[in-house]
Amino acid sequence: MASLQSLDVVSRSATTTPSPQVRQAIPQVAKLIDESKCIGCKACQVACMNWNDLRDDVGSTIGVYDNPSDLTPTSWTVMKFYEVEPKAGSLEWLIRKDGCMHCEDPGCLKACPSPGAIVKYANGIVDFISENCVGCGYCVKGCPFDVPRISQKDNKAYKCTLCSDRVGVGLEPACVKTCPTGAISFGTKDDMVSYGVKRAGELKERGFQNAGLYNPEGVGGTHVMYVLKHADKPELEELPANPKIDPLVSVWKGLAKPLAVAGMIGAMVAGFFHYMKVGPVEEKPEKEEA
């Protein structure tokens, strides 16, 4: 639950009328994760736990550095380690900080059936408002990045808030503040895009010809972006190459809704007028019987 005000909510789940639009002057924000500077120390995971007062259950090792092995309702960001061979015989160790991408066109928000359980703020942050969450899991189906996790304890969906409570009062997200190598930066979206492009250029000079900024257009761009050493192959790190809201979800939460409602109400109206026009089917009186 964020500390931003309702005037900052520009988009709201399961709501058919416009959200407040008066606040126009708020800059779009973004977090940029430069994997070439990441040393996998997990300070960001600790900072996230610390700021959000989250304590995940102590799990067990799966034989690699990933700990926990995946996002959970209480681990909103997780370092993922990948041993890959982008070219045959060239082993590389890639480290990616996984978490919510804060899509400009969020699939979770589109899929959510509960009014105001998922909101997007004027600054671009996508937030779950837990008190409105009904626990249906539709956000999981809507998300192109497999990010939301639903708690077995309380049946609420959780994910990274981009520290909307900190950003709302002019602070940077906790993970950004704590990162010891400067691999995570935070600022306006425009600044982060140009900084990301600049960093990708520097990486190209150093031999990573396919370095680039991951800011996928299919979801309208994201408010969490990566500088990837192999931007041509984001799948190396389990990032979809061209993420977008699944067409099944788009139909389900798009065309199907007005069509079905029109069909159901239309059937009832048609029945009413049919009756008024044609009249009922009466029993034939059969006086000669009985």
Binding site: G137, L248, P280
Partner: protein, 207 residues
């Protein structure tokens, strides 16, 4: 003054029918709440959003269980025959209010049979797809891709079921003397002769 009455549904049939109908209304309202924002206020009938989400699958499951009983009572009477196909050709005229010269029908006409099979089909799809994203118990066993297919099919078959039910209810209102078949179990002999002459012959045979 009502003439002779014929038994159309036994007590068990009627209780079974009304149990399904009740569960249909409850599962339908709680389901519609999650389908379109304009229906979200229906969750208030169930104690709020989370309670509607918790109850909906159980209500749906009870509806399906009720329908299984109905299915085994009625499926034989609903097999489509050549006579039904002949009746189908005349259906347009009947809807215009011209009932004369319609081929005689047995216990159920073609329209009723189609409603029966549409309900059967949509309930099977609703059950299978509903289990696939039933949180928290069964959803974890299915992939996100599979659940995306499931939610769309679940909505589509719910719409088919609701439209079938609208037809079903309308026909009962439209054809006078029908509703008492389900409320009282009996129909008048003239109702039977008018609407289901072959069934009338069958049940009055040997009298």
């Amino acid at each position: 003054m009502m003439g002779k009455m014929l038994q159309r549904y036994k007590d068990g049939d009627r209780m079974n029918h009304w149990f399904i109908a009740l569960m249909f209304v409850l599962a339908g309202l709680s389901g519609l709440a999650f389908f379109h924002p304009s229906f979200f206020f229906f969750v208030n009938l169930f104690g709020g959003g989370p309670w509607a989400r918790i109850l909906h699958p159980f209500l749906g499951l009870l509806m399906v269980i009720g329908f299984v009983g109905m299915f085994f009572r009625l499926w034989r009477d609903n097999l489509i025959t050549d006579a039904d196909r002949a009746w189908r050709k005349e259906m347009g005229r009947m809807l215009k209010g011209d009932k004369a010269g319609l081929p005689p029908v047995g216990k159920y006409n073609y329209g009723q049979k189609m409603v029966f099979w549409l309900m059967t089909l949509s309930l099977v799809v609703l059950l299978v797809t509903g289990v696939m994203f039933w949180r928290p118990w069964f959803a974890p066993y299915f992939s996100i891709e599979a659940m995306r297919v499931a939610v769309l099919l679940h909505s589509a078959s719910a719409v088919v079921l609701i439209l079938s039910t609208i037809m079903h209810v309308y026909a009962a209102i439209w054809v006078k003397g029908t509703i008492r078949a389900m409320t009282r179990g009996t129909v008048t002999e003239s109702w039977a002769k008018t609407n289901h002459p072959l069934w009338h012959q069958e049940v009055t045979k040997g009298r």
